[in-house]
């Protein structure tokens, strides 16, 4: 009787609980109080990790999230716990195998710089041949808009820089589905928690 989305949500809740518990253990041992913003950050991050772990690294965005968080300090324990703890380290290894190398930031910078140069050049050429054809201009405009939007989408997706366009849409599909599930679960939790506050 259970639908896949519900299964996904259940798994998400389980993993989220585990993640929160592990972070709680760590935080309570180190410090006493957290501000609201810190708490929010932790909640958001754990939710993201749990969501990514629910997909078991089958998609690029989940792998990217897990790899990112794994690189950050203090998060290794959480991820290891969420990904199944000491029982199956293979899965985690499998996910982290896809981790982008540490030089990715540098690479991005290089790409950006080269793009800037290219843009300058293309601008110069377009200034010279401005009066050529309007039709060509229109298509190129549409193309540039599409490109810009694709890049925006890539920036929105975690780990989206490394995906090509065809896979990007697939990943976006998956990402939207899981985000929806996450929002749904969180919404329900908020409603429940608020209701409990009232009486």
């Amino acid at each position: 009787m259970r639908t896949p989305v519900m299964l996904m949500k259940q798994e998400f809740i389980k993993k989220w609980t585990i993640a929160l518990n592990t972070t709680c253990c760590k935080v309570s041992s180190s410090r006493k109080e957290m501000s609201v913003m810190e708490r929010k950050k932790v909640i958001k991050r754990t939710a993201a990790i749990a969501m990514a772990a629910t997909r078991r690294g089958s998609t690029g965005w989940s792998r990217a999230i897990i790899a990112d968080e794994y690189d950050r300090k203090n998060n290794k324990l959480v991820i290891e716990a969420v990904m199944g703890g000491p029982q199956n380290p293979d899965e985690l290894k499998n996910v982290l195998r896809f981790r982008s190398p540490s030089s990715s930031i540098f690479r991005q910078k290089v790409i950006k710089r080269s793009k800037r140069i290219r843009r300058r050049r293309s601008a110069a050429t377009s200034m010279s041949s401005k009066s050529s054809k309007t039709a060509v201009k229109a298509t190129s405009l549409a193309k540039s808009i599409l490109k810009k939007q694709t890049q925006l989408l890539k920036r929105l997706m975690p780990g989206g820089e490394a995906i090509d366009e065809c896979c990007l849409i697939e990943e976006a599909l998956d990402y939207i589905v899981s985000l929806k599930a996450q929002v749904d679960v969180m919404n329900k939790l908020v409603i429940a928690a608020e209701y409990m506050k009232k009486p």
């Binding site: 519900m6 299964l7 958001k44 089958s58 599409l146 908020v190 429940a192 409990m196």
Partner: protein, 428 residues
Amino acid sequence: MNRGLPEMMLHCLNTSVGVSGGAELTVLERQRAHMKWQQQQQGLEYGNVYSVLAVGDGGVENQFQGQLCGESGVGQVGHPMVKPETELDGAWTGFGNCGMPSAEDFMSCGYADDAAAEYSYQMAKTASCPAPPPILGETSEGKDSILSGRTSLGGAKKRKAEKATSLKAVTDKDTNEKKIQEWAEDGESKITQQNRSTISKNKKKGEASADTSKDNSKVSEVPRTDYIHVRARRGQATDSHSLAERVRREKISERMKYLQELVPGCNKITGKAGMLDEIINYVQSLQRQVEFLSMKLATVNPQLNFNIESLFGKEVFAPCTSSYPTLGALSEMANQAYTQFNQLEVVSPGLELRNYQPDMGLQRQLSETYVDTTSFNQNPSTWDAELQNLMAMEFQGRSTSYPSQPFIGYTEANDPKDGDLNQNIHID
């Protein structure tokens, strides 16, 4: 003109497949008498070649063998996928007519907002394991697309497409030899008509053949056709690059269709740019919602270790804790279920479906215990029979529907959708 192109493509095949394959092909054309034996050998060889190119399974080899058989005109080898090429031409148009509407039906009947979500999740989940029967055709399609998406080493795909077309061209030549009169009769219109929608038809064909072959190939798992037939229209370019590009564009637009169904308010927008815009907005809004909700959760809960257990472990059941001796153990049960689930994962890491069934069983147990515990409850003002049913069905809705009545509407609003989906997409 029609004959010129296939011959060129045949030449292309000869050069591209390599010495052994090409030589064998010409042998095939000359010696029709010794067909049977050679076919098998050739089929195997082709299977080998293509299984390197495509992400190969047994299905690929079978398919190719079938292709060759059909080409030679014998066509009665016992595989159900096999169709003689002479029939194929007619069958294509048939598929165009009968295959498409059924797919559209599928689209229209269950493809509400969440349906697409479920489907795509299903698609991703079953990517590595044999699909359950009811959603077989769709998932196999999904599998194909996913796999080909994953293995998007551009060169390999291009070569694949090229090979597919060249093979097609070979078969074309044969049909041309046989049925040249028919071609002459129907003339250009038939060709263009055929060519117009060959890509989509072939996809449907793959779907249908996967459907039919599932029954007998449960023993030999995962029948998958991992190559794509591409045919150029009349004026279109036939070099490998543009073919691959066309296939890619086709795939993107197909994904876009799914996205369109997934993203609300995206139905009326046509054009890639507008749709991308809408998708971007939607993703942004979802991310913002997550941010907002986490903020809200942080403010509502004074300490961090709020969790689901604390939410409905203590406070919710506070008024009637005395009648709930089992509820305390419930969270433990959930944990147990989870650990069991984990163990199962360790046992069979590859088959996710197998993981799911025990999980479902456990969840069902859980919900049954829930029903039992609710039947202990003697508080009719807050607990309806309806609510109990809901809870039995929705493990999820529990967290909201437990506290009070106001949330019943909410879960009910969700519920019929879920019921529909259960009819459409159903594990078990």
